[in-house]
Amino acid sequence: MTDATTRRPPDEAAARRAVAAVWRIESAHVVATLMRMSGDFDLAEEMAQEALVEALEQWPRQGVPRNGGAWLTTTAKRRLIDTWRRRERLDERYRALARDLEQQADAPGYDPDRIDDDVLRLVFVACHPVLSREARVALTLRVVGGLTTEEIARAFVVPVATVQQRIVRAKKTLGAAHVPFAVPERDEFAERLGSVLGVLYLIFNEGHTASSGEELLRPELGREALRLARMVAELVPAEPEAHGLVALMEFTAARFPARVTADGTPVLLADQDRSRWDHGAIARGRAALARADATGRGRGAYGLQAAIAECHDVAASVDETDWARIVLLYEALGRIAPSPIVELNRAVAVSMAEGPATALRMVDDLAASGALRTTHLLPSVRGELLARLGRGDEARAEFLDAAARCGNDRERAVLERKAADAVSA
């Protein structure tokens, strides 16, 4: 690339891409700084967006400034001052705010000593429990990740207007609930961090197995979630679960290259070409898990899931996988984070360690409890176990049941193929 972007007015498209690149790196800093100054999330986000619009107008004509991040923050600050000025007539106190801010408007873009704290506060606000899950996801991607509304809409295959609505509503909710721009107090820290990590994992999973639509993988979304998780782990380095989540994502993403064929058909774990797994990602996953362990606070739900994923990633084949260890890890996971999904996965691990008969009893108990009624997962696993026990007709019925419940077109095709194979077996 030539350095035209910094020296002379570059062509329009290149300048827009340069704006997007700077925005991606700096947006969280800009919003967080404005949020600290204004104490108003809605306003901070709006001013930051206005600065972005101004950059898109100016940079293509005047060239990209040397310090784009500082330019964006300063511009957003000036917009904030203007907004407060307009409000002066309405409310006295804005006069003082605007004056104070103006005195330091030309100071560096953001305070490097405070920016980490500010970004962490921003993360906690965007993932606040007063917001719906969809709102947390949209807001986090927009204000922390620096994605545009259009990019978020494309990633989740929803109309742009829907994402816009979610964001507007979320900002109103934060205002109505008077959510403070603060890192949570000690007594609620763990729970609030759980909400943050949960949002990131949700984004990752949407990239990992798209819950609807034609494509199984949306790797961009997975990578974005991983980037945000690494960011958060650096902001709270003493929290084992933040590193555990990074490890889990790295271990899972390591298999992305082998998870679908060239035409997008999913490949089952047993059939994946393990030489295509990303061993750099596996190494990073192990490093992240080691950092989690180094905190000396034990493994949480993400750390345990990461350890399970690691067992798969380091095994040469399904047969050579340490299934007994996976069963143990699922038992531990089931105790600290009990859920029907964990139980179902434990059953799969037991079927590999001890055989399908024991596992089928576990799955039947789960079914009898009424759990997992609406997803395709339970009948899919049950079909698998029945097929391995040679009960082809029953297996076929389960696979067809699973296919009927499956929202992803690619996965459904696999289930239908299994149903067909079960009959011929």
Partner: protein, 138 residues
């Protein structure tokens, strides 16, 4: 997509570094690395020791020729690299511009190839994947 930022320095840069306190060099690079970590884009990187500790294998002649020390006529020496996972070429450029280097230094920025760049059915490509797996360098 991954990009490699390759640090190249000529004599001017080497001399400038010799004049600078080592602690300061380390601190500035450390701060840059920390920025990359905190942005979640750093996936790897290494620094290289003095070129005269290394050697060159030259393939000009019939037999590969091993010579000690730096590259003779080459004016710029490689002395380290980063690998960044970013969303665009422009983002890689933005990070590269922030690197604390001075006159005489260059960053060469290259996209790291992935399996998608090569025909998957080639026997040698498949073998290479296997080696990378064994070596843990993939």
């Amino acid at each position: 997509m991954k990009y490699m930022l390759i640090m190249r320095a000529d004599e001017r840069a080497v001399e400038a570094y010799q004049d600078m306190p080592f602690d300061e060099v380390i601190a500035r690079m450390g701060a840059y690395n920390e920025q990359l970590m905190k942005a979640g884009v750093m996936v790897g990187g290494e620094g290289l020791s003095e070129a005269d500790e290394g050697f060159v294998v030259d393939f000009d002649g019939e037999e590969p020729l091993v010579t000690d020390g730096p590259y003779g006529e080459v004016k710029e020496l490689f002395n380290g690299f980063w690998i960044l996972e970013v969303s665009s070429k422009e983002e890689a450029a933005e990070w590269a511009k922030r690197c604390p280097l001075g006159p005489g230094s260059k960053l060469e920025v290259r996209r790291v190839t992935g399996p998608e760049d090569f025909p998957a059915d080639n026997e040698w490509i498949q073998k290479e994947e296997g080696w990378r797996e064994e070596l843990g360098t993939k």
